[in-house]
């Protein structure tokens, strides 16, 4: 029996594989998964108020990847507390809520609403949101704004706070350090890359939103590099995300310095992807003579 337990900034997880935000709904939608292998899940991104989302077309397939522009469609925090948190409270794995807001105050208010609600195990702060107060610039592109958002959430909860980093930055280490300094318990790297695809028949963007977020295997080497850069820059654990389909993909992130991983797009194709990745990690460790994930050697030269 290979020991796959993970310590994530004080939180014990039963394995290293989590479900990524926006690819696991509110935990009720994904079919055909052996949930005993799921270490935890992050909810679809939630705002304080309901959001209708962007008009279709919302997704388009690209080489080894997909672009999405869902526009954070969601029922708002009240419906989440009423309809989903009570279910989560009885589940055997922790559920993190993916927090989204257009101002620092709103991030704080959202955290205060959710803190202490049974079923909510912690928070993943999505900082890839436009900062309305600052002309729509993204919080995540600005180390100072990213730090302020982290502080606003941290102040209102004792639960674990993870911050989900955007890849659309010049130096992810700078943002990672700023967020660490404001009290984040862990970092998740990375969110989707902004991309665009053109339909040559209409000679217009394929997505009604013009741009979308690129995910899937197409981004994996980019994501491994960014997660590694983030892990080098901070002492808190990093959760690797981006293009994981197989156990080998997940192991690349783990060796590159991540404490755990999230699986996203792969779940759309195969509801059982997370369980497969979990089992494959155990098999790799066993066949390489390790008894636990902790024994896996990491490649992490420090900055």
């Amino acid at each position: 029996m290979i020991e796959l337990e993970v310590d994530l900034g004080g939180l014990r997880l039963k394995g290293p594989v989590l479900a990524a935000s926006g690819t696991f709904g509110y935990g009720t939608e994904v079919p055909l998964l052996d949930r005993s292998k799921l270490a935890g899940m992050v909810s679809k991104g939630i705002f304080l108020r309901p959001r209708t989302g962007t008009p279709p077309a919302r997704i388009v397939e690209t080489p080894s990847g997909m672009l999405n522009a869902i526009g954070l469609q969601g029922p708002g925090v009240d419906a989440l507390i009423r309809d989903y948190a009570p279910l989560w409270a009885s589940w055997a794995f922790p559920v993190f809520v993916n927090l989204n807001a257009e101002s620092i105050e709103e991030y704080g208010e959202l955290t205060a609403r959710l803190d202490g609600v049974p079923g909510v195990a912690g928070f993943e702060v999505n900082i890839s949101c436009p900062n309305v107060d600052q002309g729509g610039m993204y919080f995540g592109n600005d180390p100072v704004a990213a730090g302020r958002v982290t502080a606003a959430v941290r102040r209102r909860t004792k639960l674990p706070v993870w911050v989900k980093l955007t890849p659309m930055v010049t130096d992810i280490g700078v943002v990672a350090r700023s967020v660490e300094a404001e009290g984040a318990d862990a970092l998740c790297a990375v969110n989707t890359f902004v991309g665009m695809s053109i339909d040559l028949n209409s000679r217009r963007p394929r997505l009604a939103n013009r741009t979308g977020g690129l995910s899937g295997p197409a981004i994996r080497p980019l994501a491994v590099h960014l997660a590694h850069q983030a892990a080098r820059a901070v002492r808190i654990p990093v959760v690797g995300v981006g293009g994981i389909v197989s156990a080998e993909d997940a192991l690349e992130f783990l060796v590159a310095g991540c404490a755990a991983v999230q699986v996203g797009t792969a779940t759309f194709i195969d509801g059982g992807a997370i369980a497969r990745v979990h089992d494959g990690i155990a098999a790799y460790l066993a066949s390489n003579g390790f008894e636990s994930l902790e024994e896996l050697p990491r490649y992490l030269p420090r900055d």
Binding site: P31, P56, Q73, F268
Partner: protein
């Protein structure tokens, strides 16, 4: 909902460039209802699954009908008998047949014929008379298979049946109307029969309600998921101008 590795067991041509493929998938065949779909995964193949209406489901076999419009459909049509694909399904909410109806028109344009044979069989089992109405560009594009008590054909060039659209070929006085085809055709159905049930098409990421990629704009505001609340809608409930009708590979008439 089931996921199964299913071998190709049947392939036959039903119109110019249009083929029916049959896969051995007993649980899916057993559970499939009219208007539901399956989501197929090819490995090696494109990243995402590809959605197809269930054309027929009988004797442990699920049939779909398609034409090559891109990488996935081309690869499906190049499969040899015995080759396997992953079949996920049945998915979505399909047509609701009212056993109180005396007659039901099944109206299809081009590949919109896809959900109609399974629906015709179910309606007839419920004692409802089926009027098969099918249109295409020209006679060679009409699906040669049909099921019902009566049939009406329409072609754009008048080479078979009436000249013009399938919508115009629907007889007066039917109790129910089910339709599938290009979105502009479905919008025309909505004008004439607001209560008609129509099967729409959108891009899909997952087919199971997770990704919210398959948004169908509703007249009442907001979006539904074509894969979960749909793909069949009351015609007047869809905000047709806001639903992209420009999918270039359009499963066209």
């Amino acid at each position: 909902m089931f996921e199964t590795s299913a071998p190709l067991v049947e392939r036959r041509q039903v119109a110019r460039e249009v083929f029916v493929l049959g896969f051995e998938a007993p649980e899916v065949a057993e559970a499939a209802l009219p208007g539901q779909f399956v989501n197929l995964l090819l490995r090696p193949g494109p990243l995402l699954r590809r959605p197809f209406s269930v054309y027929r489901a009988a004797e442990s076999r699920v049939e779909i009908v398609l034409r090559a419009v891109g990488v996935g459909t081309a690869q499906l049509l190049s499969l040899e008998l015995g080759d396997r694909v992953s079949v996920l399904g049945p998915l979505g909410h399909g047509f609701a047949i009212d056993p109180g109806w005396r007659s039901l028109a099944l109206v299809s344009g081009g590949l919109g014929v896809a959900p109609m044979p399974i629906t015709a069989a179910a309606a007839r089992r419920a004692g409802v008379e089926v009027i098969w109405v099918h249109g295409a560009r020209t006679a060679a594009d009409l699906c040669t298979e049909w099921e019902g008590e009566r049939a009406a054909w329409a072609t754009d060039d008048g080479s078979q049946g009436s000249r013009g659209s399938a919508v115009a070929a629907v007889p007066e006085g039917v109790d129910g109307v089910f339709a599938c085809g290009p979105n502009p055709m479905l919008a025309a159905i909505a004008e004439r029969w607001p209560d008609a049930q129509v099967a729409v098409e959108t891009y899909m990421g997952c087919g199971t309600g997770v990704c919210l990629g398959c948004a169908v704009p509703k007249r009442a505001g907001g979006y539904d998921r074509a894969c979960s609340e749909g793909p069949v809608y009351r015609a007047a409930d869809v905000d047709w101008p806001a639903l992209p009708g420009h999918l270039h590979y359009a499963v066209g008439v």
